[in-house]
Symmetry: C2
DNA sequence: AGGTGGGGTGGTAACGGTTACAGTTTTGTA
DNA sequence: TACAAAACTGTAACCGTTACCACCCCACCT
């Protein structure tokens, strides 16, 4: 509990000036005699001196911290994303302040306020879709924003890293169509999010291209939180002419939806084909193993950190970039050709 | 990209001194006339002024940041723990700097170094078990340490929040024994971690109490990373006289172990009963739904944050506390009475 | 009327590290 | 030996905020 030693303590102990210690600390900022350097290093070690980030930050206006604002770490997708972001950031000597918005715009706004106070140089976030003015204010303050997974269209000057949501949904739909399904349902996230909109658009596009009419009752845009996935499934299965295939494009609701399917008497894939976004540790462990759209989380994280840190360090000055990575379609056993019986 | 406004800008604009602005900012630190306060607040709003945490931190030696050093966010247990910690911390106005040690002592040491630099007031961590000297140094520096989930025995002065690992393992083993199993295998984490040691101890205790001999071949203490869970399962099943029940006490290896069981021809629970640590979103979705030891993650997070923040704010001065919470035993369908056939 | 107390406000020295600039020593060469 | 250049060191101001103390003014009391 003793007082922490400062750079001045080190200087005194080592019998040099603070300038020398500083130069030892920040290698390359000035000449230091090898012998002196050794003595200083030894003293630093002995005193357990550690420069205080706050003081450094205050002086040189820059920071080695980025903010990460994700929806919800209980969702494995975001958890793994966070894992990779923290990892990639560390490799670049950057710390990550983590905040979650729990899909709540109010909490999101609060998070942004606190991040301004922490004067982070960059923020990587999955925006709720609201708070456009708050984001805009951050931009004018010179904070670099990287949206990952989702985006906000009205916001220029923001880097975006995401998968091709429309193409992914289209591919999943085409796979269903290719198996002979025509009564296909799509469960997406809220249409206030870009992922929700884009995936539904991709779904429609594939259906139209195949000349299959879209039953509007088959499209459910539901919240990320709560048990809405299960409710959507129940609603779909209760229909007089229920779908023979369901695509769950709402990552957070996959579990809820799947649980409800299992509770029903419907057999997968015999009576119902299922495709879900996104690949989880457990999608191949359930019965049957799920056909999924797998997001390349490593790539999403890597690009996000590269943009965030690149702009932080001033290495990147070009206008905002939109990076699209392709998702993989992984076929397992939850999809099957339309059975003659169900095909009526 | 314009210059950020400082407290002096606000003071000048509002026609008051910086001291007054500071008092408005930190309510309760001194008298301010209502009218003046209103003018200052308005100016702050208009200028979009946000006090810089770095300057504040430098001045008052204290900080509103805690460090969270978890093993690995790809593990749902830690991910959900992080989610709750971030949530509970926010409710107390505290930010969380997240770092992962990936079960690597070297990375852990590095994390601790950087946290000293960020002068966090408290650290919540799942220690690898190494770096005892580093932890000790942090303690002498006055940093409050809270170990969650695991602990290090040699380290006094550290708060610990964990489940009763020995009792949990004992209960799980008793359940197996109660079903008639005697050839029970236990897969734990490394014995360098307290969780590994305690769970194995609980297992042994239950076995001894039941008068059943422990086959040392049936105990596998394996690393958290890699595919060692699967390998342990394979090794167990390849034994001339394989176990009829397996308890997986290594949270990180549950998936790997389960996948290997599914790949084999062994039927669960008919030919093999299975209990795993810990409850996941997916444990009830696999076939059969898994019997699990469920850790009360909310409680672990809440107590950890309470200790970390309490000591940070000086509200808590009593000696280090060891908080034990009880885990729930959740019986599902992966355990069954020993079948007469297998019982030989 | 002259104190007195306290609400309201202003000035300023820290906090700890960086850095420009000035100062000092060492080295090299004629 | 002298002198210049190179190599190194010391000092002090600065970053933005808060804590502390000094000050003013006015209401209230005696």
């Amino acid at each position: 509990m003793r007082k922490r030693s400062t750079i001045r303590d080190v200087a005194r102990e080592a019998g040099v000036s603070v300038a020398v210690v500083s130069r030892v600390l920040n290698d390359g900022t000035g000449p230091v005699a090898p012998q002196t350097r050794a003595r200083v290093v030894e003293t630093i070690e002995r005193l357990g001196f550690q420069p205080r980030a706050a003081a450094r930050e205050l002086q040189q206006q820059s920071t080695t911290t980025i903010g990460l604002v994700l929806a919800d770490l209980a969702n494995p997708f975001f958890a793994r994303l966070a894992d990779r972001v923290v990892w990639d950031a560390r490799a670049r000597g950057i710390h990550v302040v983590l905040l979650t918005n729990q899909e709540d715009p109010h909490l999101e706004a609060e998070s942004l306020e606190t991040l301004v106070g922490r004067s982070v140089g960059s923020i990587i976030a999955t925006p709720t879709g609201e708070n456009v003015d708050k984001w805009r204010r951050l931009i004018t303050l010179g904070v670099n924003i990287v949206f990952v997974d989702r985006e906000i269209d009205e916001l220029p000057g923001v880097d975006v890293v995401a998968i091709n949501n429309d193409l992914s949904a289209e591919a999943a739909t085409q796979h269903m169509l290719g198996l002979g399904h025509e009564r296909i349902a799509f469960i997406s996230g809220p249409l206030s999010t870009s992922t929700g909109r884009d995936r539904v658009a991709g779904f429609r596009k594939a259906m139209v291209a195949a000349g299959v009419e879209v039953d509007e009752q088959f499209i459910h845009a539901i919240p990320f939180r709560g048990d809405s996935g299960g409710d959507a499934v129940s609603a779909l299965l209760a229909l007089p002419n229920p779908p023979t295939g369901i695509i769950v494009g709402n990552t957070a609701q996959v579990r809820s939806a799947l649980r409800r399917v299992k509770q029903s008497a419907i057999a997968v894939p015999d009576d119902l084909s299922l495709i879900v976004f996104d690949d989880n540790p457990w999608t191949e462990l359930v019965s049957p193993p799920l056909t999924v759209v797998r997001q390349p989380i490593d790539m999403l994280a890597l690009h996000s950190v590269e943009l965030a840190v690149g702009r932080l360090k001033g290495a990147l000055t070009e206008p905002a970039r939109h990076i699209r990575v392709n998702a993989d379609f992984v076929q397992r056993s939850s999809t099957a050709p339309l059975s003659p019986v169900t095909a009526d």
